[in-house]
Symmetry: C2
């Protein structure tokens, strides 16, 4: 039926051990013999059974990647980049998409990943319990989100600095009432929304602007949430003249809300996002870009390095560069007609 290692051993007239060594480039096989074996194996269309080989060797040559939503641009992009690195290095990737609470719970209680992977890249923010579960796997861990976490190799960006750039831009344009559409603040372990908020507050303080809690609305990192949040802000007695959205998706939701309210951007309201979503250029959104694919690549590379070399996790997160991108959704506040 399907060709096994002994088939190619017999066909070559050697033992299975020699075939194994030859095919995996291990020493102890003469070059001519190796060549013959490789040829015969190719001829027979032999591929080693991963199950058998990982059972015998303990290595799976598989990386587990766990993400909250593969469908979302950010995660899809990171995954895309990371997968390329892994597969180029000969690793397969096992995907766990943990969007729903049930899926998440099932994953962390049953840990189907156990004994199945050599390392894991987590793109979701584990709570302390979940992090402990991952650590208990005893394999190298990495992440590109949520900041430092013991045992994890983390590559990220300067969220606070990025937010400062965005908000400072608005301040420099002359805005004083600056709203913020923030991300889900629920999981406290997930520092990104907190850091971005801090950047926002820092700049306000710097500019001598009194922060106003009413100007912060939660958008849950989705387009719809952004729209809702913007709608809330517009319902305020004194709506903001500019809005900093903690993600481009939420910024786009805000744009939609503004259009529904027949408000012009940037004439009536300025909007600045964060992330540089692939479609942000299309809508002309001013934003701060983070190298999403590069983060995935880097995290994957570091993970592989830990796998092949000494398994040491750097204490400080790797920080990737960010870049402010001026486009068309920001302008000085409209001092003329007031709503």
């Amino acid at each position: 039926m399907t060709v096994s290692i002994t088939d190619v051993a017999e066909a070559t007239g050697v033992s299975a051990s020699t075939v194994s060594r030859a095919l995996r480039g291990r020493p102890g096989v003469s070059e001519e013999m190796r060549a013959r074996i490789v040829e015969v194996a190719a001829e027979l269309g032999y591929t080693a059974s991963r199950s058998a080989s990982s059972l015998a060797s303990g290595r799976t040559y598989t990386i587990g990647v766990v993400v909250p939503y593969v469908g979302r641009w950010f995660f899809g992009t990171v995954l895309d980049a990371a997968e390329k690195v892994f597969s180029a290095a000969g690793y397969d990737v096992l995907l766990y998409n943990l969007g729903s609470p049930e899926a998440r719970k099932r994953f962390f209680t049953k840990l189907p990943i156990r004994k199945r992977v050599d390392a894991v890249l987590s793109l979701l923010i584990p709570d302390p319990e979940e992090a402990a579960a991952l650590c208990s796997l005893g394999v190298p861990l990495a992440t590109t989100v949520g900041g430092a976490r013991p045992g994890f190799t983390v590559v990220g960006i300067d969220d606070r600095g990025g937010a400062e750039n965005a908000v400072r831009h608005l301040v420099n344009l002359g805005h004083r009432r600056i709203g913020m559409i923030s991300g889900a603040s629920e999981p406290l372990h997930w520092t990104t929304p907190l850091d971005r908020r801090q950047g926002y507050l820092d700049v306000l303080a710097d500019a001598g602007i009194e922060p106003d809690a009413a100007l912060e609305a939660d958008g849950g990192y989705t387009v719809e949430g952004g729209e809702r949040a913007m709608t809330e802000l517009l319902a305020l007695r004194h709506p903001p003249t500019a809005v900093f959205a903690q993600s481009d998706e939420m910024a786009m939701g805000a744009l939609r809300a503004l259009r529904r309210h027949r408000l012009r951007v940037p004439e009536d309201v300025s909007v600045v996002g964060f992330d540089d979503h692939e479609l942000s250029e299309v809508v002309g959104l001013t934003t701060v870009a983070q190298p999403v694919a590069a983060q995935g690549r880097e995290a994957a590379r570091l993970l592989l390095a830990r796998l092949e070399g000494p398994n040491t996790v750097s204490p400080r997160p790797v920080e990737m560069p960010i870049r402010f991108i001026l486009r068309e959704t920001t302008a000085p506040p409209h001092t003329g007609r007031q709503r």
Copy 2:
């Protein structure tokens, strides 16, 4: 070190076979014994080694999913939905991201998937050779793209009918010069662009409009490609007054090109897309929606059905409903000032 089945067996005072049967719900174990074993296993934190179990049983409880680009909205969304179905059924998913030609070649020559999966869902269009390679795996196959293919369970949409809807809408508005931004026409096995083009041609013929090859530009299914294509169309001696883009991404590129040319949408040019991308609503794009996630779910379900029941592939593709969505990028042609 890590707890194995014999550990559970010893701790319970039974044999490993009984533990195996008990944990997998096989007959031949009394209920009270099963309960005890389950309890002990949970206590010890036992998880069966997949490698060992699939080596012994031949089943991997893993589905291979191969996609061209995980990062792109369409594929990410299909994958997201399919993964949920698979994991809920107890299957893991092995992801192969074959964007680059090298990755693709490596995959199809080495077929690392062999002996690693129980079934595969392919979201890329295999050429005949690649399709044969997949068939040679001897496992159930499914796809959500590219139409009928022997051996594959396929779930798709009525591409031709959808295109007809879109173009008829433009015709009804009074447009006569209707351009088309088409998808990559390269792989001939991939029928979607052809079908959508046919729908376009059908409606033109129906309306007594002479098709003009100059009005078709290739956008390669990307935002940038769409922008280039639109730019080409605008450079024409008689540019179209409306454009049908075969995908929303290309439509968005077209919108960008139009904005760059200081043309208003829909006053100067109407644009209609195809797919209903998650951000199409944000930009107000008129389009024809296809149920992307639902297709992924359905394909996954059918695949699992083939896996558990009799392995029969339905001869006709499953067709999911489409829906025309009128938004704000289409209007009657501007008969006033002409460029």
